[in-house]
Structure formats: C-alpha cells, structure tokens
C-alpha cells in the first residue's frame, strides 16, 4: 500500500489562551516550522509562533507614493507639455487645481496596494490547502483553535511530535495528509 505524504501534525484547542500557550511552548521546544489557526485575530499568536515583521506597510507606502507622483506628473505633463492651452486666463501650470486629483490618486494606489499586497503576501487566493483535509478544521472558522507542526520541520517525526503535542493537552490531534 502507498502512504500519502504527510503535510504536518495538527492539534486542536478550545480557547485562544490554550492555543497561544501551546504555540509558545511548541516554539520554545524548538519547532520552527509551525503555524496556528484561529477564528478571529489573536494578537499574541503571531509572535508566539515567532512571526514578527510583515511588509504590508512598506508595499502600501510605495503604492501611495507612485500614485501621488504619477497623479501630479500626469496633470503637469498634460497641462503644460502635451496640450498647453489658455483656459480662462489661468497659467498652464495651475498647481492648486492639481492637488485634488494628486491626493485621490495617492489614496487609490495606496489602498489597492495595501489590499492586494496583503493577499499576495498571504499567498491568497489559494483554492486548495492540505489543512482542509482535516474534517474538524472546518471548526477553525467558528470556535476552534488549531496548531500545526509542518512535516518539513527538521525536528519533525511522527511519533515524537505527536507525543509532544499530546503533552500540550489538546482536544484532539490529527495527521494532515498533503
């Protein structure tokens, strides 16, 4: 019989507190390739699993800057270089009139890069993911909390990891086929 490759070992908890505690201990125990799942944002989790910085802010800043600059330069180019013409006796470069559009472009590009930057960094959309193979994981979007140790972790071994996770007092443990 062929064995399906294993994606990782998953433990289920009842509350955010348990999960955070478990995640912290797992991380301290030297497991680096781990992740945690919760039905709502739990601030402590990220650093509990050793995830600190994210680059969403940077992406947004770049996007906003591009938007603003292109916005103003577009108007400048149109009004003074591409199609300079006398409008109501105003100068070609009527910068006060150009501020509004510049502002709007900044916001637009900033917002778009924030959202799509976040999705991209999260690797979304992702229609298939091994964790969904675990039936109980459906509860992860309701009231259950999960911790997973990926099989790619150097310390990972089926029996050892299961024992370690059991020591955390989870509600259940399941092996995640990939």
């Amino acid at each position: 019989m062929k064995t399906t490759p294993i994606y990782g070992m998953m433990a289920e908890f009842d509350s955010a507190s348990d999960l955070v505690a478990a995640a912290r201990r797992t991380h301290e125990a030297g497991y680096k390739k781990i992740d945690a799942y919760s039905p709502f944002p739990v601030e402590e989790l990220a650093e509990a699993i050793g995830f600190h910085s994210n680059r969403v802010a940077l992406v947004t800043l770049i996007g906003a800057a591009i938007g603003g600059l292109s916005g103003y330069l577009m108007q400048y180019w149109i009004a003074t270089i591409s199609y300079p013409i006398n409008v109501g006796g105003r100068p070609y470069h009527s910068w006060p009139s150009f501020i509004v559009v510049t502002f709007e472009m900044t916001i637009l590009f900033g917002g778009i890069s924030a959202v799509f930057g976040m999705l991209a960094l999260n690797g979304l959309p992702m229609p298939y993911h091994p964790v969904f193979n675990v039936a109980r994981f459906a509860m992860a979007t309701k009231d259950r909390f999960f911790l997973i140790v990926f099989s790619t972790d150097p310390k990972y071994d089926t029996t050892g990891t299961r024992q370690f996770l059991e020591s955390l007092g989870p509600r259940s443990i399941a092996e995640v086929p990939s």
Binding site: I85, V87, G88, G89, R90, S94
Partner: protein, 1005 residues
Amino acid sequence: MDQASHKTKRADVCPSKKLDLATVKAQIEQTSGPEYWRSLEELAGTPEFQEMLHREFPKGASEWVDSVSRRGFLQLMSASLALAGMTGCTKLPLEPIVPYVKQPEEIIPGRPLWFATATTLSGYASPVLVESHLGRPTKMEGNDRHPASLGGTDIFVQAAILGMYDPDRSQTITRRGDVDSWAEFVKEIRGPLAVQQGLGGAGIRILTQTISSPTLADQLRAFLKSYPQAKWHVYEPVNRDNVLEGAKLAFGQPVETQYRLEHADVIVALDADFLYAGFPGNARYIRDFAKQRNPDAPMSRFYSIESTPTSTGAKADHRLPMRAVEIEPFARALASALGVAAGGAATGESEKYLKAISAELQKSKGASVILAGDHQSPAVHALAHAMNRALGNVGKTVVYTDPVDARPVNQTESLRELVADMRAGRVDLLVIMGGNPVYDAPADLGFGEVLKNSGISLRIHHGLYQNETAEYCHWHVNDTHSLEAWSDARAYDGTVSIVQPLIDPLYAGRSAHVLVSALSGVSDATGYDLVRTYWQKQHAGADFEAFWRKSLHDGWVEGTTFRAKAVSANPSLPPATVAADDKTVEVNFRRDPSVYDGQFANNGWLQELPKPMTKLTWDNAVLVGPKLAARAGLKSEDMVTLELGGRKIAAPVWIQAGHPDNSVTVCVGYGRTRAGRAGTGAGFDVYPLRTTSALWFSTGGKLSKTGDIYKLASTQGYQTMDTPDGATRPLVREATLEKYRKEPKFAQEEQPPKELTLYPGYDYARQDYAWGMTIDMNSCVGCNNCIVACQSENNIAVVGKEQVGRGRHMHWLRVDAYYQGDRDNPKAYFQPVPCMQCENAPCELVCPVGATLHSSEGLNDMVYNRCVGTRYCSNNCPYKVRRFNFLLFQDWETPQYKMMRNPDVTVRSRGVMEKCTYCIQRISERRIDAERADEKINDDGSLQTACQQSCPAGAILFGNINDPNSRVSKLKAQDRNYGLLADLNTRPRTTYLAQIRNPNPELEG
C-alpha cells in the same frame, strides 16, 4: 390653449377612415418613377390626407421639437420637392445675373458669391446683398452702397431667407384643391377672358397688394387698356391710407414724405414708430437718428408722444404716453402754438410738454422735424405737414416726392368698392394677387363670406401660401419668392432696384409678372424678358447692355431716385372733431413687431423673435397699462374678452409698463388657420374686431375677464434692474447729458484694474489680433435686427413656444429690455448681450473636457464636437449667454433647411452647448484672405460680425483691440466705455458705451 382641447378638436375632425404615414408610405412605395408623383397628387386631394396632415401637425410649435411629426411631414415634403425636381433647387437661373463686384465672378466651392437685389414689404424695397453658396442663398445683408440701406436691414429682410426655404410654401398650382398644371390654368382662363373681351372686361377685378414695381404696374395698366371696364383694386391690412389722405388734405395731391434726420436737432414723433421695421426707410432713419445721438457732438433731442410703448418711444428723451384719440387734439394745440391756425389747446399733464416742445421747436427752426404715425388720422398728418412748413423744415429735414406706391389710392375704400361689386354680382373673374383678404380684410366688409357665396364664376388666387384666401378660390397659382424671380421695386426714396433671382424657383412658382402677362394672353413670357424689355423701353441710351449690367451689379437703377417736389400747401385744415370720450377703453390695432400683418406668421425666426418691449414670442396679447390692469383686476396671462362695436375676441392680457391708461393695444397677424407648421394656431386673431371705421384705433372697447389663464412665452421674465430686495444693479449705465459733461467717467465704477490677480495673465499683446467689441447703447434702438442676423448666420435652431416657455430659447445674441422708474411712464433700455468673450472666462475653468477654451486672439471658443453637455459652463456664466440643446432642436431632415444653412458653421445637435464666438467663421475667412495677400486684417470694415453688419444704427463695433488706431480701440478708450459685471474680474472683451439722455431741463423733475 391647453393640449387637451387640441386633442378633442383634432378628434372630431378625424373621419372614420384614418390615414397614417405608414399607409401613405405604403401607397407611395407601391408605385415608382413618374407615377410615384401622380399617386401623391391623387393622395394630396383626399380628405383623409388633409385630415392626416392636420393630425400630424397639431397647432402649437411643439412641432419643432417633435421629431415624429416633422419626419412625417418630411416624407411628403421631400416627395413633393422631388416633384419640383430636387436637382432644380440649387440650379442658377438660365439668364445671366451679375455677381457683386467685391467677390470673384465664378463660383469657387467654399467661396460665397454676393448678389445685389431687393426684397419688398408693402411695396417698399429694401436693397440687399445676398450671400450665395454654390447657388444657394444663405444670408441677407443690407446693400451698403445703397442710400436707403447703407448696409442696414430690418428683421423682415433678415428672415426672408427662411421664408424662401419655408417647406410649407405652396408648391403646386391647384384647381379646387387638386394639383394641376400651368398649361391647364392658361387653357382654363382663355374662355372667360374671351367672354370679357366682349364686355370690355366689365366683370374683371384684380386685387393686388401695394405695388411699387414699375414693370408690374406697367403690365397691369396695359392689361386695363385692353379691358377698359376692368378694375384694379389694392388692399393691404397695414396700409398708409392716412398718410395719403393727410397728404391730400395738406397738398391736394398724394406725396411721399421723406425725412432727413441727420439734420434734425429736435425730433417730435406724433405716434410715429419710425425706428422699427415696417416704417418705410427705417433702416436709413435709424442710421441718421443714431448719428445725431452722439453725446460728444451736438446731440439731438427727441420727444415721443405715443399711444402704445414702442422701441422708438423707448429712445425718446421725453416720452409722453397718450391715448391715440387724444393725439389729434394735442397736434392741433401744438400747431396753434407754432402759429398754425388749427384750434384746440392742450390741457393738464400734456400742457407742460406742449409748452416745452413748442418752445424748443421755435428755437430750432429748420433743424427740427415732426413725424406723424401711419395709423394717426389724416388730420394729424396734415397738421404735421403744416407744422413742418411753419418751422421751415421743408426742404431741410422734410422732403416731398412722388409716391412710391404705383397706385396711390385709399385702399380701404378700394376694397369696399370691390366687395360692393362682388355683392352686386358685377364680378365674374376675380384675380387676387398676393395678400390674404379673407383673413385680414376689415371685418365689417365680410370679404370672406362674400367671396365664398357670391357667384363669381372664376376666382384665382396667386400667392406664396395656400392660405385662408386660397381656400375660397377655384385656382391657386403658387407665387415665387422675391429671391426666386425677376422683378423690380422702389425703395422709400424712389430708387428702383432690379430684383434678381438667386435661385431657380424651388417649387416652379410663377411670378406676378408671368401671371399678368398670361392674363394678357402671353403665357410663355419669362420674368426676365418682361422686366428687361420694360427697362429697355425706359432707357433712352444705346448702351443698354452696360446700363443693365451696372444696374444689376450696383443693386439700383441710376437716376430713378425721386427728386424733391415743390408742393403748394392748401391752408384749410379740417375742423376739430368732437372731443373723444375718455370713459370707455380705447382699442389700438398695430402691425405686429414680428409677424407684421400675418404674412410672416409661418416664419419660425420671426415667431420666436422676442418682441422689443414685451419679449413675448409665438403669441400676441392685449397690452394693458398698469393702471387699467389694476382697475380691472387683471394679471398678465389672464384671458379676457375684448369687445368693440358689438364684435368680440378672446385673448390673453399682458401688462405693459408705460401703456397709456384706459387704452389697450392688440397686434394683428396672429390666429392664422392656414399658415403652416409654425403659424397655424399661434396667437389670437384680432382682425374680427377691426372694421373700416376703426382701422387703427377706436374708443368704446370693453374688457372683461373670463377667468381662464393662458400661458405666454416670454424670453425675459424679469424686466427691471431693481431687485426685489430693494437694490438696483448697474447693468445699463445712464446719465443725462449735463451729468455726463460734468463727470464723464460716471460709467466706470466697479471696473477692477487688470493687476488685481495672483496669476500672471496671458500675453495677448504679442498676437497679431485681439478681438473685441463695443456696443453703443446710445445708438441701439432695440430693432432686434442683430438677433435675426445672428440666427441666420449661425444656423441657430428654432425651439418653439413650449420650449421658450421653459426657458430654452437658443438666441446667441439677445436684447435685454429693462424698465426703470414710474411704471406708467418708465424709462426703457435696450442692452444687446452677445458673449462677452471674457479673458478670465468662468465657463472655461469649469469644463471638465476642455470643450470651451480660449483662443490666442482672445476668443472664448466652443468646441461643439468635444462637448459632453454638463451645462456647468452655463451655470458659471454670469451673463447667461450660453445656449444648450436640451433636445434635438435642429431640424436634421427637412431638405430645404439643409440648403438654407450656412456651410461655414457647424449645425449643432442634441446635448451640446453653443454660444456666440464673434462669428469666428468670418474671422477665419478674412484671416485666410489676408494671409494669402500677405497683409494684416485692417480696420476697413471688410471684417464684420453678422450682428454688426446688420445693425442699421451702427451700434455694434467689432475689431482688433491690439491695434490702438482701430475704431474699436478708440471707442474702448472713451469715458463712456464700461464692462458689464466687470466687478467679477471676468475682463469682458465686449464692452458697452453708457447711454446718455438729453432731457429738456424744463421738463426734468
């Protein structure tokens, strides 16, 4: 009238068997080729067809925007057009006609040719130059070399173009309503004429309008020679019987009176509306009058005593409203004061004026003039003649000549005689040439019902329209428009102009000349031959060719101008009539400022032209003064029944500030029943009230409110510069002559200096040209000419009464009328408002697509193709001179209009903003010419905007303000120069010269 009532009305007339366009199309499609036409002709007669037309073109001008009915009309119109042969439409006549000298002689596509010709109104010719694009006349302009025009025209001349292309004109000869042919007609009349030969023509009657054409008069006289017993009658509803009778009273013979206003320091108008279209020679008189109103030169003083407010009275330094019946006593009193034994003395209010006026006149003997209105009694005219003589004006400011009218008879009597003969059955063959007596004859003569019932065996109507009169005639021969046929006519000074056709008759019409020659037995004569042979007879010299050519080319025939005539006055004046009763309401009948006597009722331009004082369009109304209105509890738009001599009409009321108390004015020419798409059903017919005894005015009228309301469409809802919060806005700036002399710069308040801006301005100085305009409100007489000229030049659409009522009229140039002060005798002002071409144009700033931008020469250009129609520019235009195509206002389908339009100007479609651009097409044309000749456009008047060109007063001046020596620059440098709403720092390129009045100190305050 409300739409519902139309519907029901239309419902009753619908017979059971309905015919709609679908079936008409079907019927037409079944056939093809020539018989296509026959089927249409057959169709044309049937009652179903008539009924369908009626259904397809309900009265009311919603017509113009209702594309369905227009398209419906087109399907038949284009058909009957092809009947006339569309190819023939733009064909030049076969005979050689001579292009105007300033233009190349051979047609170059895109280059218009100019021809000198003339149009006539009640016999009087207006000399014109007509612009012709590839054989299509498109624009009328005054003949600037002709003394009777000097380039000016009147609204009827300007609108003649639309009249010629009118698709509702009669297009075929008809016999008892069925389409027939000229050959048939000629055959048909041969018999009756033969019979009349035997009787010496005892049964023949010819009824014409006023005729000044020497050729036609000659033909008619020749005809009368061969039929000695036949009679030639003349009638027009707006006739000059009083002038004629007055002349007879004064001199025992009919004479024409000409005025030399350029020499008049004091002008007294006794109910004379001499500064508006319809008064013979008005174009020239306006020019001369304006010349005398320059405040920097000795300025004339103008007193107007008038029975209804007119644009002429609005220009008076002193205007005295007076019931028409009281003017004769006043005239007598004035005459006595001037030493003419006339009896009668003025009383009360008018006495003050009388003293002042007579004193003034005494002071300026030989340099004054007294004019009497056409509708005033013969006695008043006789008195005016006597006074002018007493003041030594004759030969200086007043000149007498032979009458222009070829048959100066009392037209009312002439018609009375004809009707009597008809009743008595003495008439067997009646030819009605032009005119519309069934509609406009005095009611007491009952012309219509006599014509219908009398057993006249052959009744022939000759005219441009299948009008009310044609309905009662056996034969209708469709006439030619004066731009379509050869003829000749006299201007007010007697000068003859040869009328050249600009285009072959659109509908194969027959001119009066051809008709008369057919009656005389020559059925194949052409107008050209008739006119030419007549002049050959007149011209003694051998060099006829040169003479003929020169006459055509100049636009007038050398040496035909009347010479001043020495007349001997007969001293006896008619005794003073009994004092008119001042209890009952006086009713005044006047020609309409827009549709005249009704002949222009189907002319959309004129129908939509705001009347100078009321700004009403598409309707006439009973004009009532504020006092009388208050007494009778009347508001504008109340329906009233107006009763006079047991006759009644119903019409809406319009409250007219400055109208004499206890008197009302109604204008004739409305309420037509067979005018066409525009005229039929517009307004109210007042002819039923007009009798031979009271042709112009009469007391004994009764006003009674019916309780109904009738919506009138005025283009200016609010006619004063005083705002309801008690403030007054300095829109028209005016001062008396003294004040102006004391503080010349009185008009220049609130004119911000150019430096008041954070922005660096656009440098117009480095351009060759910077276009600008000045409008001298001192010269402007509110004649409306510029509006029609602009409409014609710029292909401006007509929108119809309903749309005007909604505030959507399209005139690029409007003339605002303001009333200030005492509502019973207010000061009135005219302010022509074209686009101001602001240098800091608020409209341009807010256009999101850049559809309106500034040209390097300072024009506020409108890019129609770019416009998406946000209307933001109009909202932000403080002058509200932008016009928007809210619906599809332009007629894109009627082929005649396609030919009529100026090919140099875009025809705007739905959803686009449009506006005045100083006739940019004319600027470009001149610029191209100038560049070709490697020169700059100079200030010689070769570049004129349409409004400027047409202005008889020369009030509008356009030119290059970069050239300090141009006339416009000089005017802008004047003290009177100011910008409208300049305090908004819009920096308008169009500026105004403030108005100056020259009141008599004794009468001030």
